[in-house]
Each structure stands twice: as C-alpha cells, then as structure tokens.
C-alpha cells in the first residue's frame, strides 16, 4: 500500500508541469485555448519532420559507431579513453556546436580543405549530435559487454569462429536489446536538441520543436502556441520514452565480472580510431581556441563571473543529482517490493508511467514551473531548477541503479522479514554497503550529465543567477567570442579533471 502511495506521489510530481500547462491551455480563462491549427502551420510541420529526421538518423549512426568503438575499447581495455569519453556528456551543446564550426566550418581546420561543403543544416546538426551520442552509446555497449559471460567469449576461441560469424551469431543477438535501448535513448536526447539546431540548423527548415517552443516564449511571446507545442511534444516524447522503457534490460543481470584483455581478434582497428579522432578533434578544437584566446585576453577575461557561474552550475547539478537519486531509489524500491508481493503489472505500469513522464523534455518541465511560479518570489524559480533537472535525469539514472537495487532487495527481503530488523538497521547494515559504490558513481554521473545543461537554467535561472553555459551564451550575445571560448575551454578542463579523478564512466 505504501509502495503504491509513494509511486502515486512520484507520478504526481512528475506530471505536475504537464498539468500546469494543460490547465493554462484548457481551463484558464485569461489564456486563449488550445488550438489545433498551430500544429498544421508550416513552421511546426517542418520542425516536426526535422526533429525526427535528425534524431532517427543520429540514433542509427550512434548505434553503429558506438558498437564499433565499444568493441575496440572493450577488447583493448583502454580505460583512460573510456573515462575521457565520459567528460563529453558534460560539454554544453553550445560549446560542442561551436567546436563543430571550428572544425568543419568554412574557416575550420577541416572545412578549409572542402570549401564548398556546408556544415549548416542537417549535416552539421548530425555531426554535433554524434559527438554526444557516440560516447553515450559506447558507454552503454561497454556496460552490456561487461555482462557477457566469459564462456560466451571463449566460444570464439574454442570453435575458432571468424570475426564475422562471431559478430553475427553471438555478439549481435546478445546486444540486440542494448541496440534498441541506445537507439531510442539517442532519439530522445537528440529530439530534445535545442541549442545545436539554433547554431548549426542554418534556418527555419532545420529547426526543432524545442527551438520553436523557446522562440515562442522568449521572442514572439505567443504563449498559446508555445504551450500547444509543449503539450504535443510531451505526448510524442512520452511515446518514445515508453519505447525506451520497453527496451530497458531491467530484469537482466549486467553485474558479471567484467572481462578485460580478452583477445577477440580485433575487427578493423582503423574505423574505431577514426571515430576517436573525430571526437578528439572537436575537443582539441575547443581547447586550442580557448588556449589561444586565453593568451591574448587573459587580463580582460571575467574570472570572477566565471567562478560564480561555475559554482552555480555545480550547485544546481549537485542538488539535481541528489534529488534524482532519492526519486530513483524510492521508485525502484517500491517497484521491486510490488514485484515481490506479486503485483508485477502494477510495478511495471507505474515505472513505465514515471519513465514516460520523465521523458517529456526539460523545456516542457521548465515551462510548467515557470508558469506556476510566474508571479511568486524569484528564489522559488531557482529552487525549482534541481527538481526539473532531477526529472530529466530519471530516465538515465533509473536503468543505472535498478538491477543492483532489485538484486539486493530480492536477496535480503526474506532474511530481513525473518529476522525482524528495524528499517534503520536494514539501511545501515544491508543497503548502504550494497549500494555505496553504485550510488557514488551514479551520483557523479548525474552531476556530469546536467552540469553543462542549458535549457532549464535558461528558462528558470535568468536573470537572477548565471551558470557557466548561461555565461558562455551571454558572452556570445555580447560579441565577446574570445571570452566565450576561454570559458568553454576552462569548463571542459575542469570537467575532464573531475571525471578523471573520480573515474565516473570507467566504473559505471
């Protein structure tokens, strides 16, 4: 009963922004009502098509490239590279977008070689999407490979299978679920793409729904349109979120000993090295631009503003990850307990509902809170930021912890009920030791994933406080591109140090 109540409360918390938006659209007499005609307008239709075109293509390509790279990294046991790949998650997309221009733009390192090729439009958005999506899919595939039983890997040597046969008959069937998961998660992440479409889209025909919503709130101020798009988007993304949930390996065991230095004959090593070069060049372009700008503008760079923004970025990310972990643990515990008591359908239903609500996009959540807190004390908007970030993180953090939570609760449930141990003792002696490691890693991963986020803070933090991404965005708006480049480089450097120090993704 308590479990159902908890899950109901969480569902209410997750659906709150959508409720506020729906209330404004359908019930508030001060606002115009929902109008279907907005969804038939050419700018929306074109944004809808582009949103899915770029995200589906990104999904396919990231599965392909991520698989190849993960295979190479798994085989050659390059943990440092795996670690550094993790820092890519935290790069603000605005920085990545400019990294792509620095590299592939007409004046870019590679762009000068092909002066007639244009990076603006679908190509540019795809390239930038892959910069984020390949490390993500590589991390998920590596996690999936770590669950491969040693005996399966030995089959190749024992039966002397060729690479092709081994891939086709052993690895691919095993990774089928991971492929689906990565595909849908990448579609979800890239469909919510906002900044990249602005920088690299090249015009309204290459715009995303998220960009249209932002545009209609902050420039045209057509709230009716923005809310209609937001509601429609949350419905679509909720559908994709449901597909992600269906692909989650929530019941499988991924915690087998990770085999390292397992000598599968490497498939062609040139391709994975090319992928790593592509990722590395964008990061290098950001560093080179930042360092050269720092040399010339060291004295005028606003270090005080940067440090303050850095503090806010990490503060919001810390609390966002913290709240997300409370939510994930409560949801997972309740879900598993329901399963133990034989309510499998209830458990799956609630978890999938939470998952669907969580994937309704940050702009929709932020917009809901913005409307709710519109005429209240500004500090409440800042308080709302970690909550919105926590909801956005849920879809990534739940799969990270679910299996460990499930196994631990199932293993200890009977023992605890027989011994009649108090909740406090259960937490102290059973759950804390069991979750300590994954909790630390998940918590850091959560911070890394939201520290460079833009949309939520852009909507809710302005004008009171500024995060690093907001600072970079503002500096670019003030035509201080060299300062923006320095801020981006310093931020990337700090995140790389954090990731390397705590070995976030390697252990994850």
């Amino acid at each position: 009963m308590i479990s159902i109540l908890c899950l109901l409360l969480l569902s209410a918390f997750f659906s709150f922004p959508i409720f506020v938006i729906s209330q404004k659209l359908f019930l508030d007499p001060n606002h115009s009502h929902f109008d279907f005609k907005f969804l038939l307008q050419p700018d929306f239709k074109s944004a809808l098509c582009f949103t899915f075109l770029q995200s589906i293509l990104s999904g396919f390509l990231s599965v392909l490239f991520g698989f190849i790279l993960a295979l190479y990294l798994f085989d050659s046991n390059k943990s440092r590279i795996v670690n550094l790949l993790g820092s890519v998650f935290s790069i603000p997309s605005i920085v990545a977008g400019f990294g792509v221009v620095l590299l592939f733009g007409r004046s870019g390192w590679l762009g000068q070689i092909f002066p007639h090729a244009s990076v603006y439009g679908l190509t540019g958005v795809l390239v930038a999407n892959l910069f984020f999506a390949i490390p993500f899919s590589t991390a998920v595939f590596l996690q999936s490979f770590s669950g491969l039983p040693l005996s399966v890997l030995r089959v190749k040597q024992i039966l002397n299978l060729s690479d092709k046969v081994f891939l086709k008959s052993v690895l691919l069937p095993y990774c089928k679920q991971s492929c689906l998961l990565i595909f849908f998660q990448t579609v979800l992440i890239t469909a919510q793409n906002f900044t990249l479409a602005i920088i690299l889209g090249g015009g309204p025909s290459s715009s995303t729904i998220e960009t249209l919503i932002y545009q209609n709130i902050f420039f045209s101020y057509d709230l009716q349109k923005a809310l209609t798009f937001a509601l429609f988007q949350s419905l679509i993304f909720g559908g994709v979120g449901f597909l992600v949930f269906k692909s989650l390996p929530l019941g499988s065991n991924l915690q087998n000993t990770q085999p390292k230095n397992f000598l599968m004959t490497p498939i062609n090593r040139i391709f994975p090295i090319l992928i790593l070069t592509f990722l590395g060049l964008i990061v290098a372009a950001i560093f080179v631009e930042g360092i050269s700008s720092l040399v010339s503008e060291f004295r005028s760079f606003p270090f005080a503003d940067f440090l303050l923004a850095l503090r806010y970025s990490f503060l919001f990310a810390f609390f966002g990850s913290f709240i997300c972990h409370i939510v994930v643990y409560v949801a997972a515990f309740c879900g598993v307990l329901l399963q133990i008591y034989g309510h499998q359908k209830f458990s799956k239903g609630f978890l999938s509902l939470l998952f669907v609500l969580a994937t309704s996009s940050p702009v929709v959540s932020s917009l809901g809170y913005l409307l709710w807190l519109q005429n209240k004390i500004p500090i409440w908007k800042l308080v709302a930021i970690p909550f919105v970030q926590a909801v956005g993180l849920f879809a990534f953090i739940l799969p990270f912890h679910f299996v460990v939570i499930k196994q631990t609760v199932e293993q200890n449930f009977k023992l605890i009920s027989i011994m009649n141990i108090s909740i406090f003792d259960q937490i102290k002696s059973v759950y804390i030791p069991a979750f300590k490691h994954s909790l630390k890693q998940g918590f850091l991963l959560g911070i890394i994933m939201v520290v460079g986020q833009f949309t939520v803070t852009a909507i809710l933090a302005k004008p009171q406080v500024e995060t690093v991404t907001g600072l970079i965005y503002r500096l670019m708006g003030q035509y201080q591109h060299t300062h923006a480049a320095i801020a981006a480089m310093l931020f990337l450097l700090i995140v790389c140090i954090v990731v390397s120090t705590f070995k976030v993704t390697q252990n994850a």
């Binding site: 221009v101 603006y120 902050f218 420039f219 101020y221």
Partner: protein
C-alpha cells in the same frame, strides 16, 4: 553595517545584454548617472531587443523594472500598452535637440542603418543595387542572416526587402535563399561567424564598418549603400507603467539623450547619436565620418502592426 547603496533609490532598467554588459555603453552610462543622481542603476538583462518585449508580456506588466532601454522601432506598437506617457511639456523640451522624433511614449536613444557588411578579401565585386545583389553569382552561399523571429536586425531585413520589392517579395526571398549560407538566432552570434571567416557577407549595421576601421585599423570590411536605400533602425527607451520610481526613471530618460551619455552610447555601442550636440564630444573619427545613405527606406505603418509583421515572417518561413 548598512552599505552606502542601501539608502540610495534604485532604478531597474530592462535592456538587452549587448547594451549593458561588461565594458558596454550601458555600464559606462550607469556609472555616470549614479554619480550625478546619487542612485543605483540595476540592469536586468535579456538576450536581445525582441526579448525585451517578450519579457514585458511574460510578466504581464507586473515585473519590477522601471524603464525599458534598447527596444527597436519595429516593436513600439506592441510595447505601447506597458509604457507611461510623457507629458507634452517634457516632450517639447527633450525633442527640441533631437534628430529623431519621439514616438508616443518612446524616446529615441541611438540609430544606425541596416545593411550587408562585406569581407573585401572574399568578395571583390560589390553590387550597387538590391536587384544586382540578389542575382549576383559571386554571392551564392555567401550570406549570413538573422532569424526575423528572434532578431530585430533579422526583421529589419524583411522590412527592407518589403519596402524595396513590395508585391514581388516572395520571388526575391527565393533569390535571397540561394545566396544564404546560414540563418542564425541573433546579430552577435552571426557576426561572430562572419568575422571568423565563415562567409563573405553578413546582415548588420553600417556602423560595423566604422568599428573595424577604428578598433582594428582595418578597411577589410565595407558596408553596402544600396541605391534603392537603407532602412534606419532607431533604438528607444521608455518609462514603464509599473515603475516604482517614475521621477528617477524620467531623469534617466533625459540623461540618455544628454550629450555626455550620447557620446558614451555612440562610442561603446557603435551607433549614431540622436542628439547632434554630442557630435563634438565624440572622439571616434570613423563614426563621425560615417556616411548617410542617399535614400532612407520607408516602412508602412501596416507592416509594423503585429499582423503585418506576422505576414512578412510567414512569407519568409514559406521560402526558407
């Protein structure tokens, strides 16, 4: 301990970040005003000129700003409802010195002309008319523009084209698309791409040429003065109805058009002063040498209404 600022009245100014960021015209003007009036000026920054209007609408006239600064002339009709009228005596006393008219409740602060800036290292042959410009083969995929939905210069381009081509606009927009490399969100981002060498031309202000000449001692970037004319963009300020300290806000309005403030705005914001008395104070030679276009394009009132602008943007969306 109470800080000295705590006892001073505060004036909250809603403006765009380019106007009032670090080392900007706004910051310099703020320092000067604070000294003379013993008050605190607090800038509330939004992304650009269009976002000022959106912010007013979002807060439904219940925000805490006293004054708006930097709203362009294309959005005055929409912002009128949120502003406080100026007394006729005030209008008379202020407008006597200004080259630009006071529009309703809005006081002009600075102006420039919208045009394309050319990188002469990339584009050798510069067209003289809008028609030549749209047909020039050497300009294919050479233009960087701003989105009219999120940028006031971007909207200015549409209004310029409408003013020149009238009913022929859709056809000319199709030609413009052929010449366009990319469309960005705002002026600053797109101008950054241009100066990085991404394209040969960018939609900007005639005063951008003066900036490069003065600051970088470079004649590489040139403004095009089309024979058909250029559109003037004037930036305005106004006291808001919601203002808590209207006297101080009015004082700041008057200060903005005074010669010392006009000098700061011209030199740091790279726009031209609306008060001719400020010209002798301006030390940036390139700004003073700034050419005036032979013809100034006129925009009909109909095109400046919400509906008129929406129709133009719709036409643009269909092509782009």
């Amino acid at each position: 301990m109470v800080s000295p600022a705590a006892n001073k009245p505060t004036l909250r100014v809603l403006t765009y970040s380019g106007f009032a960021g670090k080392h900007s015209a706004g910051e310099a003007a703020k320092e000067l005003f604070e000294k003379t009036r013993q008050c605190v000026v607090d800038f509330r920054l939004v992304e650009n000129s269009l976002a000022i209007l959106a912010d007013l609408k979002l807060s439904q006239g219940k925000g805490d700003s006293d004054l708006i600064l930097g709203l362009d002339g294309y959005n005055l009709v929409d912002a009128m409802a949120y502003t406080e009228g100026l007394a006729p005596a005030e209008i008379k006393s202020i407008s006597a010195n200004l080259s630009e008219k006071i529009h309703g409740n809005f006081l002009p602060v600075d102006y420039s002309y919208l045009t394309f800036i050319v990188d002469t290292q990339k584009i050798k042959k510069i067209p003289g008319t809008w028609r030549e410009f749209l047909l020039a083969k050497n300009l294919r995929k050479q233009l960087i523009l701003q989105d009219p939905r999120s940028s006031s210069p971007g909207l200015g381009l549409l209004l310029s084209l409408q003013s020149v081509f009238k009913q022929d606009l859709p056809l000319q927009l199709a030609k413009l698309k052929e010449q366009t490399l990319t469309v960005g969100k705002g002026w600053s981002e797109t101008y950054g791409l241009f100066t990085r060498g991404e394209s040969g031309m960018v939609w900007s202000y005639t005063t951008s040429e003066s900036y490069h000449r003065e600051r970088e001692n470079s004649k590489r970037y040139k403004a095009i003065y089309f024979e058909e004319g250029l559109l003037k963009q004037v930036e305005y300020a106004a006291v808001l109805k919601q203002a808590k300290n209207k006297t101080l806000a009015l004082g700041f309005l008057k200060f903005l058009v005074s010669p010392p403030a006009q000098k700061l705005i011209a030199e740091k914001n790279w726009m031209l002063p609306v008060n001719p008395d400020a010209r002798p104070l301006i030390t940036t030679k390139a700004l003073l040498e700034q050419m005036e276009p032979a013809t100034i394009l006129k925009v009909s009132d109909e095109n400046l209404t919400q509906l008129g602008k929406s129709k133009l943007v719709e036409a643009w969306l269909k092509i782009f």
